[in-house]
């Protein structure tokens, strides 16, 4: 499980393609193509720069004030963890920040 205070960014080896506004991520090393739903796509866009889960949740909370922060935190944490496990996102160590 990930720590919400750790920072993550995109894996720079992953290729991004868009089709009709949908984001697809291509991992040539593992031979996988991932289709992102809108929320995962939003997280991927935010991870262009290193960001903590805490800050991602804060950004989503500001954009979707009707959504409960607790629910957003659960979803964002799960998505970032999925991205990390699927080689799409990497944890950023302090020197890189």
């Amino acid at each position: 499980m990930i720590n919400t205070k750790d920072s993550y960014r995109r894996n720079r080896d992953i290729l991004q393609r868009e089709l009709d506004g949908e984001i697809f991520l291509i991992d040539d090393e593992l031979g996988k193509i991932h289709a992102l739903d809108p929320m995962a796509g939003g997280i991927w866009r935010l991870l262009e720069q290193p960001m903590t889960v805490y800050d991602i949740v804060a950004t989503f909370s500001a954009a979707f004030p009707d959504r409960k922060t607790k629910d957003l935190r659960r979803h964002v944490t799960r998505f970032v963890d999925d991205m990390r496990q699927n080689n799409l996102a990497v944890r950023v160590t302090t020197p890189e920040l």
């Binding site: 290729l15 089709l19 949908e22 697809f24 593992l30 193509i33 289709a35």
Partner: protein
């Protein structure tokens, strides 16, 4: 005096050998002690170069079938895969042919790596081929046969190849196979009659359908892909309906059905993207197969292609 003879033929008792080839490549299947299976294997292929060969030690068979009591056991000598560790020993000729069908598709994918292979049905409607991406029990094989019954040409009911240049669909020349039992109430009397008249190999779980040359594309036949239709079979009665779908949704469907693993993922994406961008993308919900055929014909088929009833 002993004579050294090259290419000596050694016919093993009751063993017959098939060499199945296309475009410079071939697969060899040995069948031991089972004439009806030997005949069955040949019947499902269209356009392949099929020749019976003497059983010699000069060539290694890719697959060997043996009749074993009430079952049709098989092995792939090269990798050691057996019927038991794949689906279990087939108990009928239809099931044994189905195993061959599955492995033969795998061989094609591996041997012809420059082609994509997609888990899709494909039928020529109008000016091009309509792809029906596979999904769990969406009824693509039965719909494919129903379209054949209306005079349209089947390119695939399960696996279709995509040409590396141009992105055309290419038939693998394998007869369609429907699962049994058929969904109750979802097909009409005429289609049921067509299935009965065209059944060639069947058991309680499946049925192969023999289709005439004008309704079954032989291996290597190509056609541009004009549409992609995702199928949703409904258990509730009601008319069939088809809606437009985004290119992104169609792309997701094709990615999920891609069998090719030898090509870099980025190349796979670019090829699939080209296919999706050149096709119209739809989603169809249907209950009765004939209703789905009517909707598809209205959308894609030329008037001259349509038949008023279920054909011969």
């Amino acid at each position: 005096m002993l004579q050294h003879v090259h290419n000596a033929s050694v016919f093993q008792t009751g063993t017959r050998r098939l060499k199945i080839g296309w475009d410079g490549a071939h697969w060899i299947v040995d069948v031991e002690g089972c004439e009806d299976l030997f005949a069955g294997l040949k019947t499902i292929l269209r356009g392949w170069n099929i020749a019976e060969q003497p059983v010699t030690g000069m060539a290694e068979p890719a697959m060997v079938f043996r009749k074993s009591g009430d079952t049709y056991d098989w092995i792939l000598p090269a990798g050691g895969m057996t019927a038991t560790n794949l689906f279990g020993k087939p108990e009928s000729i239809a099931s044994a042919v189905s195993d061959f069908h599955y492995l033969f598709n795998g061989w094609f994918t591996d041997r012809f790596r420059e082609y994509f292979t997609l888990h899709c049905a494909a039928v020529r409607l109008g000016d091009g081929v309509v792809l029906f991406p596979g999904g769990h029990r969406v009824g693509k094989s039965l719909l494919t046969v129903a379209l054949a019954a209306h005079g349209h040409m089947v390119f695939a009911d399960d696996v279709v190849a995509i040409e590396p240049a141009g992105g055309n669909a290419m038939a693998l020349g394998m007869l369609p196979r429907i699962r049994l039992p058929l969904p109750p109430q979802a097909i009409g009397v005429q289609l049921r009659d067509f299935l009965d008249r065209h059944a060639i190999l069947d058991d309680v779980e499946q049925q192969y359908l023999d289709l005439s040359e004008d309704r079954m594309a032989e291996v290597g036949r190509t056609s541009p892909i004009t549409a992609i239709v995702q199928l949703k079979r409904s258990n509730k009665t009601g008319p069939a309906s088809m809606d437009e779908q985004t290119n992104g949704a169609a792309m997701r469907a094709l990615i999920a059905q891609n069998y090719s693993t030898a090509m870099p993922a980025s190349s796979v994406f670019d090829h699939l993207s080209e296919i999706v961008s050149g096709a119209s993308c739809h989603c169809m919900t249907y209950h009765k197969v004939e209703d789905a055929v009517s909707v598809l014909e209205a959308a894609f088929a030329r008037r001259s292609d349509r038949q008023t009833g279920v054909g011969q």
